[in-house]
């Protein structure tokens, strides 16, 4: 296993996925790529329309936070990594990046920020499971912050 793709949306579930992916990366001396997918780009309409760019900016901040946290975790674990930020349909983009990089494994959290946040499989994890022609690991943790339990 040389290349692992981890999708993150900055949710608790995604951090659990990152944690497990780091462990696998260390074991296999694999390189990690973290990908964050922004919603389809409405940058132009946002620019042109009055008062729209703010929504986009917020998403960019979330994306930045999510990727930076992933990068910090990878650095701490001594794993080499790359960051990708793409705009588009989440599932399609994750699958496309996985194909492009020919990754050996795609790791996703079981649920993210979607409307069915409580469901076992979110739309992203079930979508990736269906569409990817590569091994997929879905991580289902407890979502309990470490500080609350230690």
């Amino acid at each position: 296993m040389k290349r692992i793709l981890v999708a993150t949306d900055g949710s608790l579930s995604a951090y659990e996925a990152i944690d497990m992916a780091l462990e696998l990366a260390v074991e296999h001396e694999a390189e990690l790529t973290f990908v964050h997918v922004l919603p389809p780009d409405d940058f132009i309409t946002g620019r042109v329309g009055p008062g729209r760019p703010i929504a986009h900016r917020v998403e960019m901040d979330e994306s930045e936070t999510a990727l930076r946290a992933a990068a910090e975790a990878a650095e701490k674990a001594g794993v080499s990594y790359a960051l990708e930020r793409i705009s588009g349909e989440t599932v399609d983009e994750i699958v496309a990046v996985a194909e492009g990089l020919e990754v050996d494994l795609i790791v996703v959290g079981s649920r993210g920020r979607g409307p069915l946040a409580g469901a076992i499989l979110g739309s992203v994890s079930s979508g990736v499971l269906k569409k990817a022609n590569r091994p997929v690991l879905i991580v289902r943790g407890s979502g309990i912050p470490a500080a609350a339990t230690v």
Partner: protein
Amino acid sequence: MRILLAYDGFDRSSRALEECAELAAGTEASVTVLSVVPPDARGSKSGGHVGLRPHAHEDVARAHAFLRERGIDSVMRIAHGDPAEKILEAALVEPYDLIIMGSRRFGPLKRALLGSVSREVIRGAPCGVLVVAPELRVPVAAS
């Protein structure tokens, strides 16, 4: 969705069973419950699989009943041999969309999130793997 649930009757896989039931309930999903008895299994309580044949049967029967009570179509199966090998073998013989398993930590690596069985299954699985890891924690920074 066709699901292969690797189940050994211990706490680590009872959560996997619950998650599996929640996922499958109210859908057309069918579940195969597989319990593997490792060759070195003894009836001991100290670690390892309580692998005497009757126990494996009880484990799987319990899981089977749990799923049936919730109206989930399920099949039970018991295999003997190396757990990872048998789980992968089962997944290759019949097509599944998802393998669900707990993340038991065997071996000396206390910090490890994944046990050796789940590692091997992730590496060799012909389909997606859902690892249920109750002990997973997220960094405080994330919350």
